[in-house]
Every structure is written in C-alpha cells, then in structure tokens.
Amino acid sequence: MKPPSILVVEDDNWLSEQFSRVLSNAGYMVHRVSNALSAIEEIDDINPDAIILDVLLTGSTAFALLHELQSYGDTGNIPIIMCTNLANELKLDDLKPYGVKRILDKTTMIPNDLTVSVRSVLS
C-alpha cells in the first residue's frame, strides 16, 4: 500500500530536513518546499494527504497559501498542521475554517509530536 504523502512547507532548510527525517522514519512519503508558491505547484502535483506549514515564509506568508487552498474544493479539504515559533499568537479556532487541524510550537514540541499530529489528522 502506498504510504500517505506529507508536504512540508518550511523555509529553514535544516528544520525541513529534520521534519522529513522524522516523518520518513515513521513511514510517510515526505515532500519538501520552502515557499508558498512552490507549495501550490507541489500540491497540484502530488495532492498530499496532509500539510505541515510554517507561518512566516519567504515571499507570501502561510495565510496567503491557506486562502489559496480554500479557493478550491479539492485542496480545501487537505488537513493542515501549522508548525511555528508564533504558536502562542495563533488561535486554533480562528484557523479551523482554513483547514488547520493542529498548531505545533517549534520551541516546545518534541520530534514525535509531528508524527502524532500527522497520525491524528489522517485518522
């Protein structure tokens, strides 16, 4: 069976690599991009099962991407996990209408939180 595919949108290359390392080890197929524009192209290509999304990206922010994804029926249903240093400034309830299912705080999360969150949004 094909493993679920996860798109990591993160502009810190080494952090993105770390997320990929953790998720691949848990059996997921991971794709990585560093900005919102590339994310849109990649989402079209691979139709991921979930997206790990940083908030502040080079170019457009995550919010522009969230708006874009909500504009289309197929992409609007992809579960999103926000992973950010600004977690304490975000409210999950405000972001739920944009498909955000979880918010992870980069400064306090442990590597396994990523896998647990992905598993939970995919179930």
């Binding site: 290359n13 770390q18 940083d54 170019g59």
Partner: protein, 246 residues
C-alpha cells in the same frame, strides 16, 4: 552581578528602544536556531537514526550554534558601538572577502550551496574597520543563505561607484525574488538607517539592523536590490585615495 541603572532600558518591549535593538527582537531572532538545535538534539537522543545521519545532525547543530553565536556577538558589539572607538583604515576588500568565503565554505556546503567571490583584476581599497566590515559581510552571507535556492552559488561582488569614490560590496543570492510589498517596505526602511530592517518575513530584521549600525559607524550605508531571481544586499563605503597617491 547587578545591572547598572539604565541598563534594563534596553530590555523594554518593541523592536527598538532608544535606537537600540530590544531584547524582544534579539529573543525572536534566536528562537529559530535554538528550536532547530533542540529538535536535532532530541532526535539524536532518541537514537533511532543511523550513524551517518547522526553525524550530519551533529554538524548541523554546531554550524547553527556558530551562526547564532555570531548574532549574539554582533548584538553586543552593536549595543556598545557608541562607547567604542573604531579605527578606520584602508582595506583591500578582496582579501577580506576571500577569507570570509573560505571561512563560510563548510557552512554553505552543509546547506548544499556554494559561495564565491567575483574577483577583480584591479584591486580596490576602501576605508573601513576590518572587524565591522567582516561582520556586515558575514551577516549578509547568512541572510543570503536563507534566501538562496539549494545548489546555487551566492556571490560576493566588489564594484566601484560614483566615479570610484564609493566601493560597493554586494552579496547576491539566487532565490525567489522579494515580493513587491516586502521590497518596498525594505527599500523604504533602508533609506532610514535608524529603522529596523526586515530581510526575511520571519526575521525580526535584527541582523540587518546591526549591519546598518556598523555601516553607519564607518560613514557608509547598506541597501538592497531586487532581481528577477533573487536579491543583492550591499554595503557602500568610501573608497581610499591611497592607490591614487602611489
């Protein structure tokens, strides 16, 4: 040791306090490298990755720490800038940049990027403080590394401007161009040396603010140019007349 009176003014909220970077901006800037170091360390502790992978993670930890430490030392230098005396002397920027390229090579290589100096046939001399200029170039290089795409080469360029009166050192990256609104905001802020500059959206702009302060201390200025496929952050400094006297 207790802090002297007035020392805590610096720790007030907001990006700048009395023209100095605040603890909030510094804390924000250090969050990303610390978060990365923490994630990598926890994964190594778990012991689930192979030896080669662990070696790579350890290398990333040490390079990330070095970069964060550079910022803290720049920050200290910036805060004490007004108290210190900086010797300005004629400097061959080509030599200085060659050293920086050599020093940063492992850092760039670890990011699957390269850095090179566009060499000049006829060397130029400028007036600067070696340490401050070095810190500016290191800072711009760090910034370029965040912008530039993998497998690209960040270039240091040295150019004479204004009929040789000004020497411009530019760090050219090849990543996605800055969006128009980010560019306009940057461009406007670069015109005002006392304003905090945001290089990257997730950045407090502290690194560039500090570079602006250092350039200012050498009677120079910093700026940014947008290209179709990236940006050039530059510092303009006075050229030295020494060569024309020879």
């Amino acid at each position: 040791m207790s802090a002297a009176k007035g020392e805590h003014d610096w720790f007030a909220d907001g990006p700048l306090k009395d023209g100095l970077p605040s603890i909030v901006a510094a804390a924000h800037e250090l969050k990303s490298p610390l978060a990365l170091i923490r994630q990598l360390s926890l994964s190594i502790e778990d012991g689930i990755f192979c030896e080669d992978e662990q070696k790579r993670m350890l290398r990333q930890i040490s390079l990330t720490s070095e970069s964060a430490l550079r910022l803290t030392s720049d920050l200290t230098r910036s805060v004490r800038l007004s108290e210190a005396l900086f010797t300005l002397e004629p400097i061959n920027p080509q030599q200085l940049c060659e050293d920086i390229v050599h020093e940063l090579a492992p850092f760039f290589m670890a990011h699957d990027c390269k850095m090179k100096l566009k060499t000049r046939k006829h060397p130029l001399l400028l007036i600067a403080n070696r340490d401050l200029l070095r810190r500016i170039i290191m800072n711009f290089s760090d910034n370029a590394l965040h912008y530039t795409e993998e497998n690209t080469t960040v270039e240091i360029q040295i150019r004479a401007r204004d009929r040789g009166k000004i020497i411009r050192l530019g760090i050219r990256d090849y990543g996605p161009a800055l969006s128009t609104n980010v560019f306009e905001s940057l461009h406007g802020k670069l015109m005002n040396a006392s304003t905090l500059i945001h290089a990257r959206p997730q950045s407090s702009g502290l690194g560039l603010y500090i570079s602006g302060q250092f350039a200012d201390a050498m009677n120079g200025s910093i700026g940014v140019k947008r290209h179709r496929n990236g940006s050039t952050f530059y510092v303009d400094l006075q050229a030295s007349n020494q060569l024309s006297l020879l």
